[in-house]
Amino acid sequence: MKILEANAGALTNFEVLDFLRSKGAAKDPTRVLAKVAPSEYKVYDYLNQTHACNQTREAIIEFVDKSKKYDLAKAELLNILNLRPITPVEIFPIIEDSDVRMGDDGIQELTEMVEQVFPTPQTEPTSEAVPMEGKEAETMAEQEEIVDAGQEPMETT
């Protein structure tokens, strides 16, 4: 085994969840029929408890656009996407020197923006909108797109 590239791009929790859903993890209540390993189901279960289960690709792109003015590092953006902080105290540990770099108003503004882009879910998350199983070739093509889309938000800062 040879590691060609240890870091070929970071993924947000949402992208991993989306990938597992596209493998059919969401719509198999028996957990036997879909080609998803038990260890992958564990990851799927964990991600379904996080805020990633309510996010959409559009919302993430919108957030990355809107957060450009705050001049955040990639790792900070990734962490905000994964945790969806909506109070200032949740921002403090994520963003280094947040009070110096952004000021109290900036932090407040950022939390409001996060809440507006990723609203608190009112209904059950819709996990049904996943690609059909059995279209291997298409899934591969989609995976290529995920790579591109996945790296895009990371490279914006």
Partner: protein, 227 residues
């Protein structure tokens, strides 16, 4: 938390997989080989993301299997130092906390990375079972097992696989009976150990910071005991 990693591997595909399309066969073999395993310095392999190229298909003399050189991408779990993650408290003992993510459970918070001053106190409501308590200006903040907890990654270690055996001190015939007792408190080998800290504003059990304060955490704990 999750990364893509590109790997090249020389893979033996057994003849029993010949009836499958080649990509399916290779993907199945790769999943058997890598899924839920830790690769040192790379992290915990979650999933095979895609297969980039397949070369060869050489059959070695006196072997029935085709050997391919495959370049593929894995999704790996590899938190970076400074990242904030939410998990669940799995255990608390005199050495600190152990946190679980469901798919990964070797996350430890040692005593010196707990908020200070913290104390390991018996919990009168829970039959004297001990839990960690953060004493903030005389106000106790408890960390219960099964609490949702937010932590920051401090460091990641990939311990080498232990090869040398423990020297046997006693050669008595009761050795077999004694051995299990000694091993009770020995941690099983973990190929990836994450050290985390909760000593910062906004870190620690989620209930500490959601505005409702400790009263809420107490109420939750009581509700759990009742149920």
């Amino acid at each position: 938390m999750f990364y893509l990693s590109r790997i090249e591997h020389t893979l033996r595909v057994p003849p029993s997989m010949l009836h499958l399309p080649i990509l399916d066969a290779i993907k199945g073999e790769l999943e058997k080989l890598f899924l839920d395993k830790v690769v040192a310095k790379l992290g915990l392999c979650i999933s095979v993301y895609d297969i980039r190229s397949v070369d060869g298909g050489f059959i070695f003399p006196s072997d029935g299997a085709a050997t391919y050189k495959v370049v593929f991408t894995l999704i790996v779990f590899r938190p970076y130092a400074g990242e904030i993650i939410i998990g669940k408290v799995k255990e608390s003992d005199a050495n600190g906390l152990r946190i679980s993510l469901g798919f990964f459970e070797d996350i430890y918070v040692p005593i010196h990375l707990l908020p200070s001053p913290s104390e390991f106190k018996p919990d009168p409501k829970n039959g004297g079972k001990r839990r960690w308590v953060w004493d903030y200006d005389g106000q106790p903040y408890d960390i219960y097992e099964t609490d949702e907890i937010k932590f920051r990654i401090h460091s990641i270690d990939y311990p080498a696989i232990p090869v040398d055996q423990q020297p046997n001190e006693s050669n008595s015939k009761f050795q077999m009976e004694e051995q299990p007792k000694e091993n009770v408190n020995v941690k099983p080998f973990a190929p990836m150990v994450v050290t985390a800290t909760i000593d910062y504003d906004g870190l620690g059990p989620v209930s500490w910071w959601d505005g409702s304060g400790d009263a809420d955490a107490d109420a939750e704990a009581e509700a759990e005991e009742d149920s």
